[in-house]
């Protein structure tokens, strides 16, 4: 079949065709559609699918499934790999049993990401895990298949790393169908020698991993996923991911006929292909977005193969923000001396239109009241729709870090000052990583006020279910995990659950709790306005 697919849809199609049996992950941008789509088709295709509470529990669920022999897809956004890295590294040592592909969606340009412009490819080095980089939806499909093939062949997990402009790119994709009769039933056969990273076995495992990686490297050297164009020139380009498409565009724009090597295997680095490409070149442009990992590899390789090679990369391309074909044109113009002019109109000085709370959003009843009642408080901001509190007209965030960090940092400020501190986090964030921070604050006798913005769903990433709302990704009804019950169990004594539309109750609760000597929590429970409208319209 051939259809227009979003990059993330293509990944789902490939996982279906490859016979995936188990899908877990945590929603984020630009990866969330993978779980969303799988959730809708899981039951009919005999797949078990879940939104896990965070990326670590998600990856670990996937590890359990792989060890039981199932084919697994784990999905997350860039920062998710930080959260799950503690279990990701030992997974490289143990290796997989059932094949496993881990999708990681990076967001250069921070379109939908706070915290940092992370280049997750770096985890390849830290974790020693093969990384594939697709450029378009067809490659999203092909490389998901390839990832399963590599994982199956070498018993290693494979990371499929895409960026926003790949995961959220649409184009026509050829795809196959799923074979019928696949079910998510495996068997765990005890084998602690493989599944437990107990030293001194850990060291042996590391050696085994290094040997496997050498085999994967040899496989990568022969793989058709890396493409070399046949053109001859003393100047060449090496590109990866979306940059490859920008390079082809730039060459057409400038009427240049330069050879291009597209590296789809980021790790292990296919040395021979690259050495072969650079050996007769005078100059090379390394076109890669964000960090200069490939540039460093190529620079090291050139010392052995072509000492006189001029390597251009971050000296002609920015290390911050997305690349595009114009930036490549400018770089090529500097390298080749060929003129490049773009015909852009002069920039207009217009006020920025920031993201805002939706009409009827329950947070409209929360942010202004907090600001009015506690004008001097330090506000710890968190991830999700909550981020909008940091934008005009609210401008409330005094800190913004990572999932759950509002409370972790608030506790530290509270212990270091005599100031009032309020931590704000959503329901999804509370379940993701708010709970350990809450236990820490209670245990260490801190007293920030925690305001949970419970809009009954994980809203920002596209309305995914979470443990607080009594529904799973596959649509099963389960018991709601109550935030107030967790808070109580963590030892929080001052707990209020209220509807923030009752402004007086909310105001009184803030005033009462702000002067407490122990941790206090106000759970503002009111459904996301978009979700409420959708439920009403069926």
């Amino acid at each position: 079949m051939k259809k227009i697919l979003l990059g993330n849809e293509a990944i789902v199609k490939a996982a279906l065709a490859a016979g995936v049996q188990f899908v877990s992950g945590y929603p984020g941008c630009p990866s969330a559609e993978i779980g969303d789509i799988i959730g809708k088709v899981a039951k009919e295709n005999g797949i078990y699918a879940e939104w896990s509470t965070n990326e670590k529990t998600g990856l670990e669920a996937g590890i359990g499934a792989s060890f039981s022999g199932l084919k697994v897809l784990v999905n997350m956004k860039s920062f998710g790999i930080n959260v799950c890295s503690d279990s990701l590294f030992p997974l490289a040592y143990t290796g997989t049993k059932g094949a496993m592909v881990i999708f990681v969606g990076d967001d250069p340009g921070c379109h939908s990401s706070a915290q940092s412009e992370q280049d997750s490819r770096g985890y390849a080095y830290l974790g020693k895990i093969p990384v594939l980089e697709p450029s378009d939806p067809q490659e999203c499909y092909d490389f998901t298949m390839l990832g399963f093939e590599i994982s199956e062949k070498f018993n290693v997990p494979v990371i499929l790393r895409a960026t926003t402009r790949v995961a959220h790119q649409r184009s026509p994709v050829n795809f196959g169908e799923r074979k019928p009769g696949i079910r998510p039933i495996g068997e765990f056969i005890k084998n602690p020698r493989q599944f437990s990273t107990m030293p001194p076995r850990t060291m042996e495992m590391k050696n085994e991993l290094l040997e496997k990686l050498e085999k994967v490297r040899q496989f990568a050297e022969k793989s058709k996923a890396n493409k070399v164009s046949k053109r001859k020139n003393k100047t060449g380009i090496i590109a990866s991911g979306i940059s490859y498409l920008h390079v082809l565009e730039a060459l057409e724009t400038m009427g240049l006929d330069l050879p291009v090597l597209k590296l789809s295997f980021f790790y292990p680095f296919p040395k021979k292909i690259v050495a072969n490409f650079i050996k007769d070149k005078k100059s090379i442009l390394v076109a890669e977005e964000l960090d200069p990992y490939l540039e460093k590899e190529i620079t090291a390789l050139a010392k052995d193969t072509n000492l006189k090679l001029n390597i251009f990369g971050k000296n002609v391309l920015p290390g911050t923000g997305e690349l595009n074909s114009e930036k490549i044109c400018v770089a090529l113009s500097k390298i080749t001396g060929k003129k490049f002019v773009n015909n852009k109109s002069p920039a207009l000085n217009l006020p920025k239109r920031s993201a805002r709370l939706c009409d009827g959003c329950p947070y409209w009843y929360i942010f202004p009241v907090l600001k009015r009642v506690a004008p001097d408080a330090i506000f710890g901001g968190d991830i999700g729709c909550n981020m909008i509190a940091g934008l005009p007209p609210h401008n409330m965030h005094d800190t913004l870090f990572s999932m759950g960090a509002s409370l972790g940092i608030s506790h530290g400020i509270k212990k270091s000052t005599n100031q009032k501190v309020i931590s704000m986090m959503g329901d999804g964030t509370f379940f993701h990583s708010g709970i350990p921070a809450l236990v820490n604050a209670v245990y260490n006798r801190s007293n920030p006020l925690v305001v949970v913005l419970d809009n009954r769903i994980t809203a920002m990433t596209g309305h995914q279910v979470n443990p607080g709302m009594g529904k799973t990704l596959m649509g099963d009804i389960v018991e709601e995990v109550k935030i107030e019950d967790i808070a109580k169990a963590c030892g929080v004594k001052n707990i209020k659950v209220l509807d923030p539309i009752n402004a007086q109750d909310f105001e009184m609760a803030i005033k009462e709790f702000l002067v407490k000597d122990e941790v206090s929590i106000i759970i503002c429970k009111r459904i996301c306005a978009l979700l409420a409208r959708r439920q009403k319209n069926g």
Binding site: S112, R170, P172, E249, S325, S345, A355, T461
Partner: protein, 189 residues
Amino acid sequence: MDKTFNIIIAGVGGQGIITLLQVMDEAAFVEGFDIKSSELHGLSQRGGSVEAHIRFGKKVYSPMVSNGSADLILALEALEGLRESSKAGKQTKILVNEYFLPFLNSPAKEDIIKQLGETKKDFYLVSASKDCKEKLQNEIVCTLYLLGYAVVKKLLPLKKESVLRAIKNVIPEKYLDLNIKAFELGYGN
């Protein structure tokens, strides 16, 4: 068509940009073109400025329209139309919905329209939202209205039949009739 056709859709998150993009992608696919498009999800969908890119032709590489190379800028909101006009080139046609979503410190609507008129581009101002609200009691389908207008005025090289087929392929059954009506309303304008 020898040259790749480049479209930028501009608007405010929540205006239905992705649905419009899906219909246009599909229409180009129905006509047998190669297509690449790019969109943004998440934070950017929550009422901020959003732009989506569509490129179709014989063979398309990058999913992004480079500065100055747009053939059509289709804006669902006036200020966002003006904002994107800075990316226009000599050949760019600008189609703007006469609809304004003000925010803190935003310029007056009259000034925005005046500035748009001064861009010296082929500029079309259409009251899509108003017409859709009056005649169809629904504003969100102004996207399909604008597409109908763009097709009839030949602002983009897609045939009416292809777009109608695309609408049927993309839009859920429940909203199909409404979307076709909006398209026809724009087409008949």
